[in-house]
C-alpha cells in the first residue's frame, strides 16, 4: 500500500508541489502565530513575575483618583498613618511607601524616549531587594529628589550615562541628574518600557502629583510589604488588612501578581484571537487550493481508476489510495510548515515589536503547539482530498473511460437548495443586524453565512458570472473567446480556485471600507464638533497642567480652554467626568444641547449627556449629590443636557468644582481659538513657541487632527493587509496551480490549436486571459462580499463609532486592478510552459 502511495506521489510530484506549498504556508502561519503568542505570554508572565519581586502584600487606598493610567484605575493617595500602623504588624519584615507613575525621559538629543504605546515608567527606588527587581550596575542609588536611576536600556536609548543631566516629564518638567543605571531582573529593561527610578523623596515629590495630594499634604501611593520568613501568604495579607483599616484595600501576594498580569492578559486576549483568525483564514484559503489540486489529480486518475476498477480493483482501494497519499503529503508538509512557522514567529515578533509589544529572548515552542499544527495541517489536507476521492471511487468504470472534457456535473439540485437556504439565512441575519436588534454580532454571523452561501453556490454561479466577466474578451477575437470558454468549462474548479481569492479579497475590502468609514466619520465629527482654530495635544493624552493658561496668555490667542478627566461620586456612583470651563468649551466644541443652556454651566451647575440623563433619570433642574476624592461633598444642579458625547463624555463639570480637591488637573487637549485677524500659521507659530519646552506637546489644526486619527486607523489597516498578504499569495498559487493542471489536462487540445495555427503568443494570451477571468471573478465577488459586509457592520453598529458608510471607490478600483494583475502573474508559468510544448507531442500523446 505504502509503496503504491509513494509511487503515486512520485508520479504527481509537480502537481503536488502546490498542495504541499499551500499546506506548508498555512501551517507555517498557524504555527508562527501560536508560537509567537505563547512566547509573548510567557515573556510577559516572566516580566510581571519579576516586577512583582518578592512583595508579599500591598496596601493602597480603596478610592479612585481621576483618570486612567493605560486603562487601569488609579488609586487615590493613601493616608501616611497607615504605613505607621502596618509597620507594627507582627510578621512584617519590611514595609515601604511606593509611588508609580509616568515619567517620560528626555534623551541627550532632546527628544522623548519610548514609543507611543508601552508604558514610560516612573518608579520608586527601594534599597530592599525583595521589593524591587531593579539592581544597580553602574553608579549609585538616588538620594536627592532630583536624582534618578535609569534602566540600562533606557539610558542607552537616550545616549545618557551616569552624571548626565536631563529632563523627565511627570508630566511637569523635572530637571534631574542620572546617578545610576539599573538592570531589571538581569535584563537591560522591562520589555519595551522606559524606566526612571526616583528616591522616596523624589517619588513623593514628582510621581505623587498623579496620585494627588490631599489639602497640600502628599499621600502615599501605596505600601509594599514583605513578610518575615515562615509566615503564610494569606494569613499575612489578612493581618495586614486588619491593621490597615478603613479606606484601604490589601492585596495578597498572589492577588498582586494576578493584577499585574491582568493588563497584559487583556492585550493577549485581544491579540491571540485576532492573529489566530488570520492564520485560520490562511488555512481556509489553503484548503481550497488543496481541494482543487486533489480534485484535478483525481479527475486525471479517474480514467486510470476506472481501468483499475474495470479489472477488479475495489472502491475502497481507490479511496484508500487517495487518502493515504493526501495524509502523507499533509504530514510531511505540516512538519515543514512547522519549521517555517518559527521563521514566521520571528517575523511576527518584529512586527509586534514595532507596535510596542517586543520583548527580548528566544521563541517558546511547546510540544502541544507542534503536535497541534501537524495534526491540523494533516487533517485539513485529508479532509480536502476526501471529497474528490469519494467521488472518484463512485465512478462507474465505463464512465471513467470516457473523457470528460467539459464538466456538466456542477448544477445539482441539492447544492442549489442548500445554497439558497444558506443565502436566505444570511439575508435574515442581515435584516436582524440592521433593522432588528441583532447588532454587530448578528452582522458578523450574516457575513459568514453569506460567504458560505457563495462557496456552496459557487459552482452554479461561476459559469454565468465568468461568461459575463469575460465579455470584454470578445474584443480579443478568438483568443479571447477561447479564454472565456475555458474559464467556465469546469465551473466547480473555477468556483473553488476563485473562492480562495474571494475570501482574501472580501476581508481586504471589508477592512478597507470600514477604515474609510471610520476615518470619514471621525473627520466629519472633527469638522462638525471642533470649532476652534487649533488643538494642543500631548503624547499619552496628558497635556501638562498650566499649558492652557500659558497658551491663553499669548496675544494671538482669543481663548484657550483645556478639558480633562476627573473622578466624582455622583448620587453614590463613582464616575469619570470631564472638567473644563464649560461655556468657553461649548463655544469651541459642538455639544448639540437638547435642554437647558450650556453657557449656564458654571459654579454649582453641571451638564450631562442625553444618554446619562436617561440612564439616571436626571433632568434639567435636578440636584445631584457630589462627593469628591478628598471626601468633601457638595451639590450640583443639572444645567443642561447635550447629545454629542464623542469627545465630551457623559458628564461635564466646571473646573471650580474639583480644583484644589485632591485632583491634579491635566488636559486631554486644549482647544484654541485665535484672535481676530491672526492667521492660523501665525497663531500656530506663537503657540509652538510657548510650548517649545514641552517635548511631548503637539499643536495641530483640524486637518492635521483628522489626518492623525486617519493615520492611526490606516496603521491598523496596513497591519491587516500584511496579515492577509500570505492568504492572498496562497490563493494566487492555487489559481496558478489549477491553471497548470488544467492546461496539463488539455495538452491534446492545446496541441491541436497549435497545429491549426495558434501562435505561441496567442496560446500564452489565451491562458493568461483565462486566468484573468478567474482572478477578476474571485476579486469582484470578494469585493462585493466585503463592501456588503462592511455595510452590514456599519448599519448594525449601535455604538455610534462609525456613523456613515463610505465606499472608497479609488481604493477598491486599485484592489480590482490588482486582482486582474494577479491573474496575469498567476498565469505566467502555466502559460509559458503550455506554449513551449510542441504541437506534435500533444497530438501524438493521444
Amino acid at each position: 500500500m505504502l509503496r503504491v502511495t509513494l509511487a503515486n506521489i512520485g508520479a504527481h510530484k509537480r502537481r503536488l508541489v502546490s498542495t504541499f506549498t499551500a499546506v506548508v504556508l498555512g501551517v507555517a502561519f498557524l504555527a508562527g502565530v501560536l508560537v509567537q503568542t505563547a512566547t509573548l505570554q510567557h515573556k510577559f508572565d516572566v516580566m510581571f513575575d519579576t516586577s512583582s519581586a518578592e512583595v508579599d502584600a500591598v496596601v493602597r487606598s480603596d478610592r479612585s483618583a481621576p483618570g486612567y493610567d493605560d486603562g487601569e484605575r488609579i488609586h487615590a493617595p493613601l493616608d501616611p498613618a497607615v504605613l505607621d500602623r502596618v509597620r507594627l504588624v507582627p510578621g512584617v519584615a519590611d514595609a515601604q511607601a511606593d509611588w508609580e507613575g509616568t515619567a517620560v525621559v528626555i534623551g541627550a538629543d532632546g527628544d522623548p524616549l519610548g514609543t507611543n504605546g508601552p508604558p514610560k515608567l516612573g518608579l520608586t527606588w527601594h534599597d530592599d531587594p525583595e521589593l524591587s527587581a531593579y539592581r544597580i550596575v553602574d553608579g549609585r542609588a538616588p538620594v536627592a529628589p532630583d536624582e534618578v536611576v535609569l534602566a540600562v536600556g533606557t539610558a542607552s536609548d537616550g545616549d545618557l550615562s551616569v552624571g548626565d543631566r536631563t529632563t523627565v516629564l511627570v508630566p511637569d518638567e523635572v530637571a534631574v541628574t542620572v546617578v545610576g543605571l539599573a538592570t531589571f531582573g538581569g535584563r537591560d529593561s522591562a520589555g519595551p518600557t522606559t524606566t526612571a527610578l526616583f528616591s522616596e523623596a523624589g517619588a513623593r515629590a514628582h510621581l505623587a502629583t498623579r496620585s494627588g495630594g490631599v489639602d497640600g499634604t502628599v499621600g502615599l501611593g501605596r505600601i509594599l510589604l514583605t513578610a518575615a520568613p515562615g509566615v503564610d501568604d494569606d494569613t499575612f495579607a489578612s493581618t495586614v488588612r486588619a491593621a490597615a483599616g478603613d479606606g484601604t484595600e490589601t492585596l495578597s501576594r498572589s492577588e498582586f501578581r494576578a493584577e499585574n498580569r491582568d493588563g497584559i492578559d487583556d492585550v493577549m486576549n485581544f491579540l491571540r484571537p485576532a492573529l489566530l483568525s488570520f492564520a485560520l483564514i490562511a488555512l481556509l484559503v489553503a484548503a481550497f487550493s488543496i481541494y482543487n489540486t486533489f480534485a484535478i489529480i483525481v479527475a486525471q486518475r479517474t480514467r486510470e481508476a476506472g481501468l483499475l476498477r474495470a479489472i477488479g480493483a475495489s472502491r475502497s482501494q481507490t479511496l484508500r489510495a487517495v487518502l493515504a497519499e493526501s495524509a502523507l503529503v499533509g504530514l510531511v508538509a505540516s512538519i515543514v510548515g512547522l519549521g517555517l512557522g518559527l521563521l514566521v514567529a520571528v517575523g511576527l515578533g518584529s512586527l509586534l515589536a514595532r507596535g510596542g509589544l517586543g520583548l527580548p529572548g528566544g521563541l517558546l515552542l511547546a510540544p502541544a503547539t507542534s503536535i497541534g499544527c501537524v495534526v491540523v495541517g494533516t487533517v485539513v489536507t485529508v479532509l480536502c482530498a476526501l471529497g474528490p476521492a469519494v467521488r472518484a471511487s463512485r465512478v462507474a468504470p465505463m464512465q471513467a473511460l470516457r473523457a470528460a472534457d467539459v464538466d456538466q456535473s456542477a448544477t445539482s439540485v441539492v447544492r442549489l437548495v442548500i445554497g439558497s437556504l444558506t443565502a436566505a439565512a444570511a439575508v435574515v441575519g442581515v435584516l436582524w443586524a440592521t433593522v432588528g436588534s441583532g447588532g454587530m454580532a448578528a452582522g458578523g454571523l450574516a457575513i459568514a453565512l453569506g460567504v458560505l452561501a457563495l462557496v456552496v453556490l459557487g459552482p452554479i454561479v461561476a459559469a454565468p458570472a465568468g461568461r459575463v466577466i469575460g465579455l470584454p474578451l470578445r474584443l480579443r477575437g478568438v483568443t479571447g473567446d477561447l479564454a472565456r470558454l475555458n474559464a467556465v468549462r469546469n465551473p466547480r474548479r473555477t468556483a473553488s480556485s476563485s473562492a480562495a481569492l474571494m475570501i482574501g479579497v472580501a476581508i481586504v475590502a471589508l477592512f478597507t471600507v470600514l477604515a474609510a468609514s471610520i476615518t470619514a466619520t471621525v473627520d466629519d465629527q472633527i469638522r462638525r464638533q471642533v470649532g476652534g482654530d487649533l488643538v494642543v495635544t500631548a503624547l499619552g493624552g496628558t497635556v501638562p497642567p498650566g499649558t492652557a493658561a500659558e497658551v491663553a496668555e499669548q496675544p494671538e490667542v482669543a481663548t484657550a480652554t483645556g478639558f480633562g478627566p476627573a473622578t466624582l461620586t455622583l448620587d453614590g456612583q463613582e464616575e469619570q467626568v470631564i472638567t473644563s470651563d464649560v461655556p468657553t468649551l461649548t463655544g469651541l466644541l459642538e455639544t448639540d444641547p437638547v435642554a437647558g443652556d450650556m453657557s449656564s454651566v458654571v459654579g454649582d451647575r453641571l451638564a450631562v449627556s442625553q444618554a446619562e440623563a436617561d440612564r439616571r433619570g436626571w433632568a434639567v433642574g435636578d440636584t445631584i449629590d457630589v462627593e469628591r476624592v478628598d471626601g468633601t461633598r457638595t451639590e450640583l444642579v443639572v444645567g443642561a443636557v447635550y447629545r454629542t458625547t464623542d469627545l465630551l463624555g457623559d458628564v461635564l463639570v466646571p473646573r471650580t468644582v474639583v480644583v484644589d480637591h485632591g485632583q491634579p488637573l491635566t488636559d486631554f487637549a486644549v482647544m484654541v481659538e485665535l484672535a481676530d485677524g491672526v492667521s492660523v500659521a501665525a497663531g500656530r507659530a506663537a503657540i509652538e513657541r510657548t510650548v517649545a519646552d514641552l517635548p511631548t506637546v503637539d499643536v495641530m489644526d483640524r486637518d492635521e487632527l483628522s489626518a492623525s486619527i486617519a493615520q492611526e486607523v490606516n496603521t491598523v489597516l496596513y497591519l491587516v493587509y500584511g496579515m492577509l498578504a500570505l492568504s492572498i499569495v496562497i490563493a494566487l498559487m492555487g489559481i496558478a496551480n489549477t491553471l497548470s493542471l488544467s492546461t496539463l489536462e488539455r495538452t491534446r487540445e492545446l496541441g491541436l490549436l497549435r497545429a491549426v495555427g495558434q501562435t505561441r503568443r496567442q496560446a500564452r494570451a489565451m491562458i493568461r486571459l483565462e486566468s484573468v477571468v478567474v482572478a477578476v471573478y474571485g476579486t469582484a465577488l470578494g469585493m462585493a462580499v466585503g463592501v456588503l459586509g462592511a455595510w452590514v457592520l456599519v448599519a448594525s453598529d449601535t455604538s455610534g463609532q462609525i456613523g456613515g458608510f463610505t465606499v472608497p471607490a479609488d481604493q477598491l478600483a486599485v484592489v480590482l486592478a490588482l486582482g486582474a494583475l494577479a491573474g496575469v502573474v498567476a498565469a505566467i508559468r502555466p502559460a509559458s510552459r503550455a506554449s513551449r510544448r510542441q504541437p506534435l507531442e500533444a497530438i501524438a500523446g493521444g
Binding site: D405, V406, G477, V478, T479, D481, L482, L485, N486, R489, R748, E749, L752, L753, R754, A755, V756, G757, Q758, T759, R760, R761, Q762, Q838, P839, L840, I843, G846
Partner: protein
C-alpha cells in the same frame, strides 16, 4: 489550381529517433512530390513512417536530414512563428480523432484557423464547404453532441476553411465504421475534384486508398512503390509484399 505542379516536396528526407544502436530511422531517405489538385494516399504497414512523413510535410515536425518545401518555401529555415503561420494559412489538418475544440461550436471550430489569423471567413466559401460536408443544421452544436462521423465532417470543413494549398489527413476514417468512413472519403475526393484542393491522406486501409488518384507505399521509412488510380487488389498485393496487413496505424 495548377495541375501537375508539386505544392509540396520532400527531398532526401531522413528522420532518425534516438542515436547509436538504438536509433530508429522513421524516414530513411524519402523523395516525394505532392502534386497540386490531386488526392494522394500514403500507405504502408504500422511503423513504416507514414505519420512521420506526414508530420514533416506539414511543418509539425522537423527532418533530421533533407528538406521539405511547401509552396516554394523551405520549412527547415522557418521560425516556430513562421511555421505556425504556414500551418494556419496554407495547410489543413484532419487527424484520426480529437480534431475539435470541445468548448467551441461546430461553426466556431470551422472558423478557428481563419479567426486565429484575425480574419473573417468568407461567407460564400463557408456555405460551400458546409454544404459539401452536409452539416447545415448542426452548426451550433458542440462536438460532444455529434457522432464520430459528424465530428470528422466538421474537421474536414475546418481543414478546408482557409482554402489551404495542401490538406493532410492522418487515418481520418480510422475510428469510423465503414459506411461513415466512406462518406468522409467521398468528401475528401469531392474537395479535390470540385473545389480544386490538394489532399494527402495516410491510411492503411486498401479500400480507403481507392478514393485517391494515386498511392505511395512506405516500408521501413522508404517509398517502395507507387500506384496510379489504386484498386483494392493492387494495393493489397503491394502491401502483402511489404508484409504489413495485420496492424492498424
Amino acid at each position: 489550381m495548377t495541375i501537375n505542379v508539386p505544392v509540396a516536396r520532400l527531398v532526401g528526407a531522413e528522420k532518425t529517433y534516438g542515436s547509436g544502436p538504438n536509433a530508429v530511422h522513421a524516414l530513411a531517405g524519402v523523395d516525394l512530390d505532392v502534386v497540386g489538385g490531386r488526392f494522394l494516399a500514403v500507405m504502408g504497414p504500422s511503423g513504416s513512417g507514414k505519420s512521420t512523413l506526414m508530420h514533416c510535410l506539414a511543418g509539425l515536425d522537423t527532418l533530421t536530414r533533407g528538406s521539405v518545401i511547401v509552396g516554394g518555401t523551405e520549412l527547415g529555415s522557418l521560425s516556430d512563428r513562421a511555421l505556425t503561420r504556414l500551418r494556419r494559412d496554407r495547410i489543413g489538418f484532419v487527424f484520426q480523432q480529437f480534431n475539435l475544440i470541445p468548448t467551441l461550436t461546430c461553426r466556431e471550430n470551422i472558423e478557428l484557423p481563419v479567426r486565429l489569423a484575425g480574419r473573417r471567413l468568407d461567407r460564400a466559401w463557408f456555405d460551400t464547404i458546409v454544404g459539401a460536408v452536409g452539416l447545415g443544421h448542426r452548426l451550433d452544436h458542440r462536438p460532444a453532441e455529434l457522432s464520430g462521423g459528424q465530428q470528422q465532417r466538421v474537421a474536414v470543413a475546418r481543414a478546408l476553411a482557409t482554402k489551404p494549398d495542401l490538406m493532410f489527413a492522418d487515418e481520418p476514417t480510422g475510428n469510423l465504421d465503414s459506411r461513415t468512413g466512406a462518406e468522409i472519403l467521398a468528401f475528401l475526393r469531392d474537395a479535390v475534384d470540385e473545389l480544386g484542393q490538394t489532399v494527402a491522406m495516410v491510411t492503411h486501409d486498401p479500400v480507403a486508398s481507392t478514393y485517391a488518384h494515386g498511392a505511395v507505399i512506405l516500408s521501413d521509412g522508404r517509398i517502395v512503390d507507387r500506384v496510379e488510380e489504386p484498386t483494392v487488389d493492387a494495393v493489397l498485393d503491394l502491401l502483402t509484399n511489404v508484409g504489413g496487413l495485420t496492424c492498424s496505424a
